[in-house]
Amino acid sequence: MNKQDTGILVVDDELIVRESLTKWFREDGYRVDSAESAAAALKKLNGNTWNIMLVDIKMPGMDGLELLQRIREINKDITVIIITAFASVDSAVKALKAGAYDYVTKPIDPDYLDHLIEKALKEQALVTENRRLKNTVSEMATQTDIIGESDEIKNVMELIKTVAPTDTTVMIRGESGTGKELVARAIHALSPRKYFPIVTMNCGAMTETLLESELFGHERGAFTGAHYLRKGKVEMADGGTLFLDEIGNIDRKTQMDLLRVIETRQFTRVGGSDVLHSDFRVICATNKDLEKAVKDGTFREDLFYRLNVFSICVPALRTRPGDIMKLAHYFLDKYSKAMNKCAKTFTPEAMHALKGYNWPGNVRELENAVERAVVLTQGQSIEKDHLPLQAVAPGQPEGDRLEDIEKVHITHILSETGWNISRSAAILDIDRVTLYHKIEKFGLKRKK
């Protein structure tokens, strides 16, 4: 900060002190003013920005301590330095407890005063910068990538806002590609733990021993190749959030270890004996039917209930078709910018194809489809042909009769399954014989 922009207000009933300090700071280039009493100082707080106030502790009327409290009520950002005589060091200590930055005794060592002011301003700048960064982080964090205006997604957003400020364990459920990790990140970003990390652990991608080491870390020499001590995800999530993705994929032993650490927040590194503590919030996600896994005995019931405290179900994209184009445009904008392309819109045919597809891979599939299309396009619009084969709509019914729609749908399902009759029949919830009849009735033929 420029010195001329830095305001120092000297509050002292002694004229000579006010004049001396005012002059001293003015020579340094600061914007300086003085007040002869606490009341005058309070008046000068209105409409002025003071970075530092040097306040004499002993003044007639309202004393320095009371003024300090009033300043704290009005503006917590002002650094208050108390000026005191040797005899009133006790009062100075009281002032420090009341929130004064420091105190100086009369007469003040000029070198000490200069360093004190510099130190106070540096700290003030750091606090300001820290606050600005926190605001930026908050702004960035609250701008979640969860896109959509459908009631289903609005409901998810409401649930996120409700549960985020608490420390409750959350289980996020939904099909693959629906954006479960985005939901976890949004909960973390809106929680008081947002300034600490969110540590993601993909439980589905690890073997039993590797998972244990990843979760709890290992000591040096714990096993072959463990050349260094390594912190685990649980330890790294201290203060923040531990996001356990694909929780349904962990083995029974790790389930037991995980249950223990979630209950006690204590753990031991692999190969170690020290019991360590970590303060973290658990968010987990799964696309599996955990209730069934509990019934089957492949997932511990106690862990299930420990994790399934607050459940958020992320809807599949096909259940919120109104969000498809909003998401598509979001991804189009994102990838056009990233690839420096000028694609800004979709042709009506491409839009039709996007809306007509049922998106089994959900938002992830849509994102990939749009990304690929942006790679392929050279113009301002995404054509239907730019969309990957899977994203092409099954076609339009020839008429408005139920049979017309049925024909299109059966054709689409057969195409999706590669004309696997059993799978298609299962998806359509009809028996195989009925499906054969329909194929014959509609004259459907497999394309070679």
Partner: protein, 184 residues
């Protein structure tokens, strides 16, 4: 023509004051006039502190200047005065000062009492001492020309509260400060 008066106060050494004349003339490019005065500065002595109140001395010198102007002996703004002392100076709120000046004013004081190595239990060094006196004289005169403390470490207007700080800075103005002086 503007001029700077170097006023030897009290028992300040003549050779020290004289040695300032040439370097200051080179920087300020105005005549540096040597003068001697014997105002009784003892009245500004503070027995409990064992120091002289520089603010009071400054005010006293200002009142003399004002009187001389009233009498037609001085033209306002034409002459700037730097009083040189060998006494320990203070301003009431600070434990000590090397000097004091009126920002953009006419009168400044500088003391070489705390610029001597001997005060800190070190062997005397005339060259270092004289350099410190030049830097501080330049510094206080700089305030009379409206200069604030400068952030450039090499500039004589860099703030120095310890004698070691004085040794670290240069014995001339940085270009920006010099420009302000030359334009005033």
């Amino acid at each position: 023509m503007k001029a700077i008066r170097l006023l030897r106060l009290g028992t300040a050494r003549e050779d020290i004051v004289e040695s300032l004349q040439e370097p200051l003339e080179q920087i300020f490019r105005v005549p540096i006039v040597l003068a001697q005065s014997h105002p009784d500065i003892e009245e500004f002595y503070d027995p409990p502190r064992g120091q002289y109140n520089s603010t009071s001395i400054l005010l006293h010198l200002k009142s003399i200047e004002a009187h001389l102007r009233t009498a037609g002996w001085r033209n306002r703004g034409r002459t700037k005065t730097l009083a040189v002392l060998d006494s320990d100076l203070f301003i009431p709120i600070l434990t000590y000062v090397f000097g004091e000046a009126e920002l953009n004013g006419d009168v400044a004081v500088v003391s070489y009492y705390r610029l001597m190595n001997e005060l800190y239990g070190l062997p005397g060094n005339d060259a270092v001492f004289m350099q410190r006196v030049r830097k501080e004289a330049l510094h206080e005169l700089g305030h009379l020309y409206g200069l604030f403390h400068c952030e450039h470490q090499e500039c004589a207007m860099h703030a120095s509260t310890y004698v070691e700080d004085i040794d670290l800075k240069g014995d001339s103005f940085c270009n920006r400060c010099l420009d302000v002086v030359r334009r005033s």
